[in-house]
């Protein structure tokens, strides 16, 4: 059976409200860097959530690491020391959590040594793909199976439908996988005006190790001078029906799929949201089981 996962967010309200959903999951996704803080000497050490999540390792469930801060697409030498420290710290966490796989986002979240946090779009060039592959090789020295998640970019450097080719170029090595985020495909398709099915058709689905589903919301029309509304990948709302349909269509075609994760951002869950989230977890499990029967 394909396991279903849920995000663990370092937020007391999230963890309390989502306790039942967290217990219902087969595995948990954590962003390693959310479990650290930086000491004055620059060393990365555990924060309080590290200990709390560490206590959850005793059981049948497993952990996967899904970061945003390593910055797969940064080539700048100015950031090299930070990246080394980052990976050394992930290695320590791997010893504790035994991550089944470790993924990060396509893009550059640390740019010219600065923390952008939001992964910025990369030019889809051979040089950029080489940088991402090099980073994945470094990640593989820590966790054997690694991957790249297709990201949301609100502007694209090139043709958005060229991204599948670029992604496949990045993950062509053995042990390198694709984390297919269906809400990201949906968001990109909505904002850039392409057919999400066409994007999916261009991917080699044998490379998919994990699928993410989540929801989002629309931007406030007052945010942009044009009044245009963009779909945002906020992980802060219900999973759209189209994303569910994409999951139903794609999951059976991913022969090496090892998990499907429902993601939700901290600070976006109130008590009234919990029944919906619980229902989404149930629907996710049912969808994944149907995939197995079909296969």
């Amino acid at each position: 059976m394909i396991p279903v996962g849920f995000t663990l967010q370092p937020d007391p309200q999230f963890l309390d409200l989502c306790g039942g959903i967290i217990r219902d999951a087969d595995y948990w996704e954590v962003a390693p860097e959310t479990l650290w803080r930086m000491r004055p000497d620059g060393r990365l050490e555990d924060n309080g959530y590290h200990k709390r999540f560490c206590a959850m390792t005793r059981g049948r469930r497993f952990f996967v690491a899904h970061g945003v801060g390593l910055s797969l697409g940064s080539g700048a030498a100015v950031d090299a020391r930070r990246r080394r420290a980052w990976l050394a710290r992930v290695a320590e966490d791997h010893a504790t959590f035994g991550f089944r796989w470790y993924t990060d986002h396509l893009g550059a979240s640390a740019v010219d040594g600065m923390a952008m946090t939001l992964p910025l779009p990369l030019p889809m060039t051979a040089e950029a793909a080489r940088v991402v592959r090099r980073r994945l090789t470094q990640m593989q020295r820590v966790v054997g199976h690694v991957g790249v998640e297709n990201n949301v970019a609100y502007f694209v450097v090139g043709d958005p439908l060229d991204e599948p080719r670029f992604l496949m170029d990045c993950v062509r090595a053995r042990g390198c996988h694709l984390l297919l985020d269906l809400h990201n495909v949906y968001t990109m398709a909505t904002n850039h005006g392409f057919d999400p099915a066409e994007y999916l058709r261009r991917l080699d689905l044998t490379k998919v190790i994990e699928i993410h589903i989540s929801g989002g919301s629309e931007s406030d029309p007052r945010w942009l001078p044009t009044g245009r509304v963009l779909r945002l990948d906020g992980h802060d709302g219900a999973v759209p029906e189209l994303v569910w349909r994409m999951l139903e269509a794609v999951a059976p075609r991913c022969p090496n799929l090892r998990g499907v994760t429902l993601e939700r951002m901290e600070g976006t869950v109130e008590e009234a949201d919990v029944p919906l989230l619980a229902a989404e977890m149930q629907r996710l499990r049912a969808t994944v089981q149907r995939r197995r029967r079909r296969a």
Binding site: D112, A115, L118
Partner: protein
């Protein structure tokens, strides 16, 4: 353009007064709304990092959101985002605010001599 140069220019563009012009200098066809939204989200994520790391900043924001937002915009434009963790962002913000609150350096007081102007 080499990736390192692309990164340097993109980092500057995200905090530029006109991010659309700065990004279009690299990619002439870049979607203006998409660039503005990206720059906005970069600032918003930094704001959230600050809020998580600084109870003082959070209290200031709660007291007067509009005034704090103005301060934050000035901070974001003036100080490169070199902090990766909330506590470090808080330290950067504190240092910037202390500097803003400090009296002008003595040299500038000497260089602005009213008497000499009267002469």
């Amino acid at each position: 353009m080499k990736l390192a140069e692309y990164e340097r220019r993109m980092a500057a563009a995200m905090r530029a007064r006109d991010p659309v012009a700065a990004v279009r200098a690299i990619h002439p066809g870049a979607d203006a709304d998409g660039v503005r939204m990206t720059a906005l989200l970069v600032a918003r994520l930094r704001f959230e990092r600050l809020m998580r790391g600084s109870p003082e900043a959070e209290a200031s924001f709660d007291r007067d959101p509009a005034a704090f937002a103005r301060d934050f915009r000035r901070y974001h434009a003036a100080v490169p985002p070199r902090a990766f963790f909330p506590v470090d962002e808080a330290a950067l913000f504190r240092a910037w605010r202390d500097q803003e609150a400090a009296p002008p350096p003595a040299r500038s007081r000497i260089v602005a001599p009213r008497r000499s102007r009267r002469r």
